[in-house]
């Protein structure tokens, strides 16, 4: 059984500071709503608007569709890894700063990887992966 430990306030109770908010919590909601828009666009462009593969590939060399996919990529990576962070933070003691660094690096690598895949539709081969 989990026995509640005596809890001390983590934050200073000095009058000057504004009460804390969790930006991770707020941004998770906003990115979730944004994802809904991007995902609907992604599914529409890639699966419903003329779903022939060569048409999709040529369409992906147009800025507007690329913007849609890069936007989706950035937001989905943020939302997914932020959710994972929330799960891991629950079990980790303290602030676990290393976790934030690790997940940030993973996020940046994933976005670069995804952009590289989109790049391949312009130049017919990825820039980074040889």
């Amino acid at each position: 059984m989990a026995t509640p430990s005596p809890v001390k306030p983590e934050v200073s109770t000095a009058r000057s500071s504004t009460p804390p908010v969790s930006w991770a919590w707020i941004l998770q909601r906003f990115s979730g709503l944004l994802l809904l828009v991007f995902l609907a666009g992604h599914l529409w462009v890639e699966h419903f608007m003329n779903a022939r593969v060569d048409v999709i590939a040529s369409r992906l060399t147009h800025g507007i569709y690329d913007t849609l996919d890069i936007g989706l990529l950035i937001v989905v990576v943020y939302h997914g890894l932020n959710g994972l962070r929330g799960i891991l933070k629950e079990t980790l003691e303290g602030r676990a700063v290393w976790l934030d660094y690790t997940l940030s690096c993973l996020g940046i690598v994933t976005v670069v990887w995804g952009v590289d895949i989109l790049w391949a539709f312009w130049y017919h081969r990825p820039f980074l992966i040889f």
Partner: protein, 246 residues
């Protein structure tokens, strides 16, 4: 009818056969067991009418007040366990210190603003009263803390009852400690951000309070404070509000 009552005692599960009348409650069955079958069975109770909050326990896997739970709908088989997330002292008696220490962290009493020198009553039909009335009924029975699986995962979490009380005091314009209270409820591990909106507390509350609503309100208040700053409640305006409504 004969009811089989299984009690998760400190010494292990013990089964009792209880002759019960229609309309009897779980607490009646416990009294019968203590008086007629085994005087060593321990449980807490006081008012017997659901207003003191002493007899909270887990009845057939769900939190409830023994005095407000009828035996009949439970069928012939009743399992009684002590509340979760608090240490067991004996049988169905738990140590509520963990629950009340969380309560104490938010200083659960009105600390009036210095400009209020005489008692100010918020009338029953006033806007202020309607805002805080929704959560005032709490009898601190601890059922919500037991039902809250977030407390199971993160033991520091203040829990539904304390956060609901904090919300009541923060929503009350007569209270002076809004900033301090918000700083306590906004903490990352113990505070409102930890709530996963399971709403288990809402489902078990014997007083039909919705602590999740209070927690959602606290989250929005904290965000509004950060984005647009605290709502200014100057003295003349406060007096005007209260005088208009009184």
């Amino acid at each position: 009818m004969t009811v089989t009552v299984r009690i998760a005692r400190t010494s292990g599960e013990q089964v009792f056969a209880v002759e019960s009348l229609a309309q009897q409650t779980v607490l009646d069955a416990l009294f019968y067991i203590q008086n007629e079958l085994d005087p060593t069975v321990s449980f807490r109770c006081s008012c017997r009418v659901g207003m003191c909050g002493s007899c909270g326990m887990v009845i057939n896997g769900k939190e409830g007040l023994a005095c407000r739970t009828s035996l009949k709908p439970l069928g012939g088989d009743v399992t009684l366990q002590p509340l979760r997330h608090v240490p067991v002292i004996k049988d169905l008696v738990v140590d509520m210190e963990g629950f009340f220490s969380k309560y104490r962290m938010i200083e659960p009493y009105l600390q009036p603003r210095s400009e209020i020198v005489a008692p100010i009553v918020a009338p029953l039909d006033s806007h202020i009263r309607q805002e805080i009335d929704l959560g005032l009924e709490c009898i601190s029975c601890g059922l919500c803390l037991s039902a809250c699986d977030v407390v199971g995962m993160v033991p520091e979490f203040l829990g539904p009852a304390a956060l609901n009380r904090a919300y009541n005091l923060i929503a009350d314009v007569r209270d002076d400690k809004t900033e301090e209270r918000l700083r306590v409820v906004g903490q990352s591990r113990a505070g409102v951000w930890q709530c996963h909106t399971h709403m288990s507390c809402v489902e078990v509350c014997p007083k039909n309070i919705a602590p999740t609503r209070a927690i959602a309100h606290l989250k929005r208040t904290l965000i509004r404070r950060r984005v647009v700053g605290p709502k200014k409640r100057p003295i003349p305006k406060l007096q005007r509000i209260l005088q208009e409504e009184i």
